[in-house]
Symmetry: C2
């Protein structure tokens, strides 16, 4: 992967200008709560006090996981490709939530264990027919991991060239909360126990297996020293490609709308590669997955939605998009005390 | 006010049918979190397993408060009418948030201390030029309160006749958090202290005055025995009219999208008049106003958004509307395991 050059997001001067613009709107100081901080962030990312969202795009990265053989998921592996077909047919939650908002949804086959026919909404970036079982060996080679990162980055640059300034990221991959939890433990240094949850709803016996698999894998791969080596050892193709997409989006100064737990694990890897990526991120929601609260705290992030979702796909990102538009709209369209002839707090 | 006849929302049979439909969608059981409970509620309100939102309408009820003379707000009273002008000009937060969603916004002058020129978006339902100061006498007469309730109910029936099936309620009225806090203490039986917050941002001295005013008013008006007497003693014209609007909406089986703290106080009054209203309500957000968490708990409600808003106007309701649409859309448009050919959890 070539050297990254993520530009800083905004300047102190611009931050001051945006804050002043927010404070002159016809509302008490701070009354729009989190939308004010969101408007500030979007302005800083775009380098303007009039941010806007254009041609937002959601990429669903899909990949299969060798570790599924350990019985860590409630669903069989073929659900990965079956759900890809569901996304392409427009019948999944993410499609339904994205459609009324003009949010385009494409699926990226990063490494699904299935041969798909070509489809206009499917990007074939398959690295292999699923990863190896990281309970026994590295999930992928370092070369595969670098190829996945580069493919993710390139895919996003194509969107940027076509005028999109917002990338939403989602994923599909049976057993990928196991990979995500292992990556979280590795990249945050937290105890594995704090990173592990039930994913799509594994039962108690499955949860015990999941814990044991992750515990042993962290020991087995403790020699993976660099971020890319760790991502190769414990990751998934869709997670690595998603990390590359985030890095590419930040280089293009795009807004990155981060979905849930697994997208967050990809961001941990991206952050380890280049910490500058974080300034371009907006966190869509806090999921029900057990480790997500601690992960968001690690990012020092307050997510926009807390709807107890645990679906992935980018469904939470799609649901949060109207709030990003609202943040832009109030900054751009709301009247100021001066323009509306309303007395402000000082007038009392 | 004529005898109310709020029909029950849904049947156990329908609830079972909607739950089954939700559980066959292509997602793990319960994975859409709060959206699943929301879809169930919307279906029960409309008596169908395929709810939809048609011609949603937001009414901003505006009124002035005699108690403003006690120095309980950070803003002068003329901000009420100035903000009404801002809504009519389309420059306020609620306009900006409603516009992209096709949410119509009308202002109801329930009792603003200002003479407005006619405007197509302004409904003149003025009871008087503001309430009396309830620190010294009842805010309004029982006859005025009944007139306000009836006017609110009638306004909503007109919307229903025109095809709207969702009423969002918001408000504007300098000093109306003082009225709302007093009503909350009266209708919930909670200690006044637990109901009082800073409203639009009153300073420490103002907060002390606000507490003292409410404490004394609750003693002064302790003889107000019926819900309507209590609402007359401590309420505002916009709050009473909003309560009437909610009762009218429930009678028409419309979805009631409740904004923040003051709309919640109006709902407390409406609930005291007819508890059946609650089954028609969706709670848009949890505001920063100190008493709102306790109020939502009283309603046994989990609000959709927690964005630390404290603006009123219906701004939180407008921001929550996309989530109601998403709940309808997933119920109506998402594929089932059968239709998509996806293996479900039992297939493992």
């Amino acid at each position: 992967m070539q050297a990254l050059r993520i530009p800083p997001a905004g300047t102190p001067e611009l931050a001051g200008r945006i804050r002043h613009k927010i404070d002159r709107k016809t509302k008490p100081l701070g009354a729009l709560g989190m939308l004010e901080g969101l408007a500030l962030r979007l302005g800083l990312i775009q380098g303007t006090d009039s941010p806007h969202i254009h041609a937002p795009h959601l990429l669903v990265f899909a990949g299969d996981h060798g570790v599924a053989a350990e019985g860590v998921s409630a669903y069989p592996q073929e659900v990965t490709w079956q759900m890809v077909m569901n996304y392409l047919a427009g019948g999944a939650a993410v499609n339904v939530f994205a459609r009324p908002q003009g949010l385009s949804v494409d699926v990226v086959d990063a490494g699904v264990n299935h041969v798909f026919e070509t489809h206009p909404r499917l990007l074939d970036r398959k690295i292999a027919m699923g990863t190896k079982n990281f309970a026994k060996e590295p999930a992928m080679t370092v070369a595969q991991c670098e190829a996945a990162l580069a493919a993710g980055s390139r895919a996003v640059r194509s969107l940027s060239v076509l005028g999109s300034n917002l990338l939403a990221v989602g994923e599909m991959g049976i057993a990928n909360t196991t990979s995500a939890a292992a990556l979280m433990a590795r990249f945050t240094g937290m105890a594995a126990e704090a990173c592990i949850g039930r994913g799509t709803g594994v039962d108690d016996a499955g949860l015990v297996r999941k814990r044991e698999v992750i515990r042993q894998a962290l020991i087995l791969h403790r020699g993976a020293a660099t971020p890319i080596e760790a991502l190769a050892a414990l990751g998934g193709f869709e997670i690595a490609m998603m990390a590359g997409a985030m890095l590419g989006a930040a280089q293009e100064r795009m807004i990155i709308l981060v979905d849930g737990f697994i997208a967050g694990a990809a961001l941990l890897a991206a952050q380890a590669i280049d910490p500058g990526v974080l300034a371009y991120c907006v966190f869509a929601h806090q999921s029900e997955e057990a480790g997500h609260v601690a992960m968001l705290k690690h990012f020092n992030a307050e997510p926009l939605l807390k709807l107890h979702l645990r679906l992935g796909e980018g469904s939470g990102a799609a649901l949060a998009l109207p709030l990003l538009r609202a943040a832009c709209d109030f900054l751009n369209q709301m009247a100021s005390f001066e323009s509306a002839g309303v007395a402000d707090q000082g007038a009392r």
